[in-house]
Amino acid sequence: MPKYVDRERGLVSREIFVDEEIYRLEQERIFCTQWLFIGHGSQIPQPGDFFASRMGEENVILVRGKDGQARVLLNSCRHRGMKVCRYDEGNTPIFTCPYHGWSYGLNGDLVGVPRFKDAYHGELDRAQYGLLEARVCDHRGMIWATWNFDGPDFYEFMGDMLQFHDSMLEPTDGGDGEMEALPGVQKWVVPCNWKFPGENSIGDHYHAVSHVSVELVGIGPGGRGSTRHGDGGYRPLAMTAFPDTGHGSRGGKANPDAVPRYPFPAFSDPATEAWHRAAWERHTKNRPGERPAWDRLGNGGNIFPNMNYHTRWPRTIMVAHPAGPTTTEMWRWFLVDKDMPYEVKQFVRAYFLRYSGPGGLTEQDDMENWSYATIASKGAMARKLPYNLQQGLGHAVDSEAPIAGARYSGGFISESSAMVFYNRWQDLIDR
């Protein structure tokens, strides 16, 4: 196995974005071993509710059992492999395979085998043939799963990245309200390697230039002419990335002297503006003297390998599922405070949809760049030229309490977090 990532010199081989064999290795060594984001509990509130999700290339079922537990099951019959659930979502007491009728309980157990007595002579060891069940962690409604039964648990996997992850969940008023996902998940297909969105999300502030057309139009929450992320909050001093896990946030090193101030952008909708004003009132009571975690820790990041999140403006999760070396299936969820009034939800939804997804004015340019960068990296000569990630090389520094085990990028614009992403990738592939 040649070395694809040159840590010292800040170079990454183009092969890893286009090669079939490397892609196959990634499925085994990354997508079968890491914790992957599956969905949000608010998508399956009731026992029997299910949501058809993915882990890497594979279909899984996220389902809430009669015991209230969320489980994740491989969506492939143990008899001849047929997909046992073919709906996007719903409620069911059982999953019955259309092919020969084996049926599985909500916990994956094989509970029905037609002709068990006569055709099977009562001999099939049914206990061995449940749907493959992933190891699951339901952390505050965020459902994660992995096929790595012996590896680190979810909290080890997350390490100190957890506080960044949790900043996405933090209610707007700093209270104890819940987050919920808007109904429905955008799913679409982009002809790029899945690592482009990963690198973008862990910390590519440098590509802001590609969004100049968005800024010219002004699509932010403040209405026409306002900047796309909104204009609230502080800009972080540096990004944070965790070499041991490959996770990272586009913020994290906050100005210690920054005092809490009203952190939300202006909203052109009076109801939304008023609700945020009121939420901030409550925040100053709930957490006196504190800044919101998402304001301190950055507006988004990447949880290795492929969970891209945005804590605010917009508030959304995107999982970049690999679907071939040069194809990615993107899944995007939009998130709101559960207790937001209906019309505020409507207003922020409209903003989310004009920012993100295949119809999003911002995301469209990203996908164009990722896909043409992928194509242009395929050629025999192009493949010989590694990507350059020397921006800020050698300028990262160790993080400080309360963030342990991470590196600060040294500046707001730097490729040191991207290098953490690729170094982690190399570590896993080298195994």
């Binding site: 709906y87 429905g184 998940v185 100049v212 119809g359 469209q364 164009e368």
Partner: protein
């Protein structure tokens, strides 16, 4: 001319007027006269492209995610539509620079409702099929084939679009982006 055919004729002229309007509209899109296209929308226009779910036969009413809080491909007003147009017109919206080629087809135009029932129609609800071909740079091709529902309101001798809903008949969107209009 009999009364029947008089009536038929009136219906025919109405459908013709809508068909012509739609054909002229799609000429504007394919000729990229986007500002002119935008002008066809009413100021209170709503432009929706919903997600579509895989559901059981007996839950077909859940197929189209048309709930007001449902995630959608588009949930636009005239204002956001105009932002999309302006972005393309900056000349630095890379997803549409160089500009994609397109051909927009509209067929099966039907008037499904009109108001008032008699006399010159002031608003009509229509259903049609659309096929949109996009070809970009060297070899990128997307094909969209769907059902479109429009509500039109009389504007002088012609129409303006008040509501448009486009059913792309896809679940996973088989395109990298939606920089085009339907």
């Amino acid at each position: 001319m009999t009364a029947t055919s008089e009536d038929q004729l009136e219906r025919l002229l109405l459908r013709e007027s809508v068909s012509e309007f739609f054909a002229a509209e799609y000429d504007l899109l394919d000729r990229r006269e986007l500002s002119e296209w935008l002008a066809l929308f009413a100021d209170d226009a709503v432009y929706t492209v919903p997600l579509q779910r895989n559901v059981k036969y007996d839950h077909l009413e859940r197929e189209n995610a048309l709930g007001p809080l449902d995630t959608a491909w588009f949930a636009d007003t005239k204002d956001t539509l105009s932002q999309r147009v302006e972005q393309i017109q900056t000349g630095v919206h890379w997803a549409e620079e160089p500009v994609s080629r397109s051909a927009h087809l509209v067929t099966n135009v039907r008037i499904v409702e009109r108001s008032p029932e008699h006399g010159p129609a002031q608003t009509v609800s229509t259903r049609c099929r659309i096929l949109v071909y996009r070809n970009r740079l060297e070899r990128e091709v997307d094909l969209f084939v769907g059902v479109r529902e429009d509500k039109l309101r009389r504007r002088d001798a012609t129409w303006e679009i008040v509501e448009r809903t486009v059913f792309l008949e896809q679940n996973v969107l088989l395109a990298k982006n939606l920089t085009l209009f339907f």
